[in-house]
Amino acid sequence: MTPDVALIVPLPVLLPLLGATVTVVGSRSPALQRVVGIVTLTSVAVLAGVLLVVADRRGPVVAQLGGWAPPVGIALVADRLSALLLLVSTLVTLAVLVYAIDQRIADYGRGTASTTFHPMYLMLSAGVSLAYLTGDLFTLFVAFELMLTASYVLITRRTSASKIRAGMTYVTVSLLSSLLFLTAIALVYAATGTVNLADLAGRIALLPAGLETVLGLMLLVVFGIKAAMVPLHLWLPDSYPNAPGPVAALFAGLLTKVGFYAMLRTQTLLFHRDEPWNLLLVLAVATMLVGALGALAQNDLNRLLSFLLVSHIGFMLFGLAVFNAAGVSGAALYAAHHITVLATLFLISGLITRRTGTVALDQMGGLLRTAPALAVLYAIAALTLAGVPPTAGFVAKLALLQSGVAVGPWPTIVAGVVVVASLLTLYALARVWVRVFWGEAVAPLLDDDPDDEVVVGTANTPAAMYAATGGLVAVSLAIAVFAGPLSAVTGRAGVDLLEREPYLVAVLGAQS
């Protein structure tokens, strides 16, 4: 018997928390902060990889915190889905940290240490890990709070008037969703007397159908706000573009997907259904179309990407709405691909802004000649997001489409909308290509706020910023290259999610 793997399940949460503490204590030494941040995230990525392999071979790994057996104690569960998303998220977090360090965002480019950036960054990572791993509804709430509180600080750091405005919207909407989540937890507890997810799975099924629907819809709204599902998406294109490049990339990559993961987990585990969920199908269509059409109207590069982000949340909602193993596994694969590619695009947008000094599409041009490397990175990332074969986006989208067409007439129609939304995405991204990379070279705008943390309008870009972005592009390409084994893993994850049995047995023991 090998050493107990369950021991490493809490580490993806504990290591970043420890790292956050060290970076606060060592806030006088920027070098120490950087090393701690990178070492911590690298170790978490390795651990997540181990968890994924173990969970895939032997089924869910469960750690009982404090030795209390569930349903009394809190359980951390790493199954295929959570380990996969944890791995991808940590890789993205690591790449964005390298990028942010080289952009010198942490110290506002002044060479001094910061007491907020590194601790909050690691805290956010801890919250994300906890959200993926927890097997307890209330701990999920705590994880969201950990993650969101860190994100509030990151989005309002070094505030200017525009950031305050965006920060207000973001914080208020997130707080509202948190309070609604708490309300939902109270109602769930009042109805069932437990907050353990595995225990809830059995008990919610015993409730009257009406009550079950109410609880399911409340959780859908809560996670819908966090995942930016139309019509609950309005806060996102308003706030993300105002965050500094790497922070926006991190948020775009992780936060909404954690919301979607929570939705996927709770809906499949607690509110099991045997046929497609028509309400969510409609919402998925609305999300895809509103996002894609909204993106077409934008002139601000970051806002355009934010709308595309919203649009592609709809793709994942579609996978969940189909509610069969193929759909859910397609959604999981899509989430892994989406985390990577959206973070990449926001980082590229940061690089473009650094060079041109603006985010306004009509004020730049000719970057193909002045920054060919950037053009290559953008082209790959854009084609991946649009889902052009043979990229990762195509693989993930194909999985979704196949799951939808197999089920019935309505999902088939929605699958058609998926194709339309993909084409609109391609159009929006091609528009960016024409405006930014083709045409006459435009002189970069001067930095209108030299004191601000982001240096713009300079051709001098640290190589590591390119390296970090290139690393993420490589992860995207790896998803495409290893699509076979990867979709096999998500396929098994999808079957697990809908059967529920492996999860329940792993958490509650064989008696369930």
Binding site: V153, T156, S162, I164, M168, L179, L182, Y189, R303, A360
Partner: protein, 146 residues
């Protein structure tokens, strides 16, 4: 199944209604108070989920069936701490807004407004106050170009 105390239910309903009303206001101070009130409502709801008042959960002092459910209190305590921390943060944010902008009202998204009015110039070509519109538009554009 828990029977709900009508007074508690009414109190929670009023707190939720007041909280949501205040959340819809423009001033961040009112939003803040709304969040606080809503937080109270939620915490009371958590308490209510634990059932009617009962003996403290200490083994050996009272028979086991007289003991109240301690879990909702633990949950509410965690939630109180979190709400408290976020209230403080929101307060600081409101103050910062007051220092930077001069008031704490949540403003419209400039870029969103600009895009919303984008189709108007063709329609308002004959409009005499078009000049004013364009000037405003330029102003907005220069801000959006940051």
């Amino acid at each position: 199944m828990i029977t709900v105390n009508a007074t508690m239910a009414l109190t929670i309903a009023v707190l939720f209604a007041t909280g949501f009303y205040l959340l819809l206001q423009r001033s961040l101070m009112r939003v803040l108070i709304g969040v606080v009130v809503l937080g109270h409502g939620t915490n009371l709801l958590l308490q209510l989920a634990g059932g009617p008042p009962a003996a403290p959960p200490i083994l050996g002092t009272v028979p086991a069936e007289a003991i109240g459910d301690p879990l909702p209190q633990a949950l509410a305590l965690t939630a109180v701490v979190i709400t408290f921390a976020l209230t403080t943060f929101l307060l600081a944010l409101g103050y910062r807004a007051f220092v930077l902008v001069g008031h704490d009202e949540v403003q419209d998204d400039i870029e969103d407004r600009r895009i919303g009015t984008q189709s108007l110039p063709t329609a308002s070509l004959a409009d005499p106050d078009d000049e004013v519109d364009e000037a405003a538009d330029d102003d907005v554009e220069s801000q959006a170009g940051r």
